[in-house]
């Protein structure tokens, strides 16, 4: 079984300052991990993915995440927040086998507020 814990339900940052969204996972298999962003009344957009290649993953819009197996973490960072980064972010782990439909397990989400 797998699970995902996003350690902060809300994060507030000032524009231009760094953003850190924390995620811990557990998985019985070698995991694939993803970060998604959801703006209000929109679908989820993939920010980045880790699939057992480089442990530092670069995504869209200046985001990156580091996979740390020893800490079972996959934290998302951005050096400088922009107003458009205000949204909800989901850390996600994949079951990883087709027989189960490649289902995803979602974290509870972190809502990011960006102050001017």
């Amino acid at each position: 079984a797998q699970s995902v814990t996003q350690l902060d339900s809300h994060v507030s940052v000032s524009e231009g300052t760094p953003v850190l969204l924390r995620c811990n996972y557990s998985s019985s298999y070698s995991p694939s991990l993803f970060w998604y962003v959801q703006h209000p009344n929109k679908g989820l957009q993939l920010l980045l993915k880790y699939t057992s290649a480089a442990t530092l993953v670069k995504g869209i819009n200046g985001f990156e995440a580091e996979f740390k197996k020893s800490e079972t973490s996959f934290h998302l960072t951005k050096p400088s927040a922009h107003m458009s980064d205000a949204a909800e972010y989901f850390c996600v782990v994949s079951v990883g086998y087709q027989a189960a439909g490649n289902k995803l397990t979602f974290g509870g989400g972190t809502r990011v507020l960006v102050k001017p």
């Binding site: 989820l44 993939l46 699939t51 989901f90 979602f106």
Partner: protein
């Protein structure tokens, strides 16, 4: 490139009425397809997934059903809507193992 279309964007329905939400994917073949519901202020709940035409797996018992009449078409239905069916419904597709899912823009369903 692949695209996913989901409609309608918003829907207001009375209690007891039927429902049909449609999702189609373009630019790929034999995708995995998914229906999710997101209640207000909560995470995503997987309702159904399909790994092929006519193959539907249900994750949560409820008065909803899903069908996949064509390779890239996924339909969510109900014969009689309940108030508790209100929410934001998202369709998604993926390739096979270890690949991310790609989401449509969602349907906001309100039940009156």
């Amino acid at each position: 490139s692949q695209t996913i279309h989901q409609w309608p964007a918003t829907l207001v329905q009375p209690v007891g009425s039927p429902l049909s939400l449609e999702c189609t994917v373009e630019g790929t073949s034999n995708p995995n397809l998914y229906w999710y519901r997101q209640a207000a202020g909560r995470g995503l709940q997987l309702l159904f997934y399909s790994v092929g035409i006519g193959q539907i797996s249900s994750e949560v018992p409820q008065n909803l059903s899903a069908s996949r009449p064509q390779d890239r078409q996924f339909i969510l239905s109900s014969k009689k809507l309940l108030l508790s069916d209100s929410g934001f419904y998202l369709c998604a597709w993926s390739r096979t193992v270890n690949q991310p899912q790609h989401f449509g823009d969602g349907t906001r369903l309100s039940i009156l």
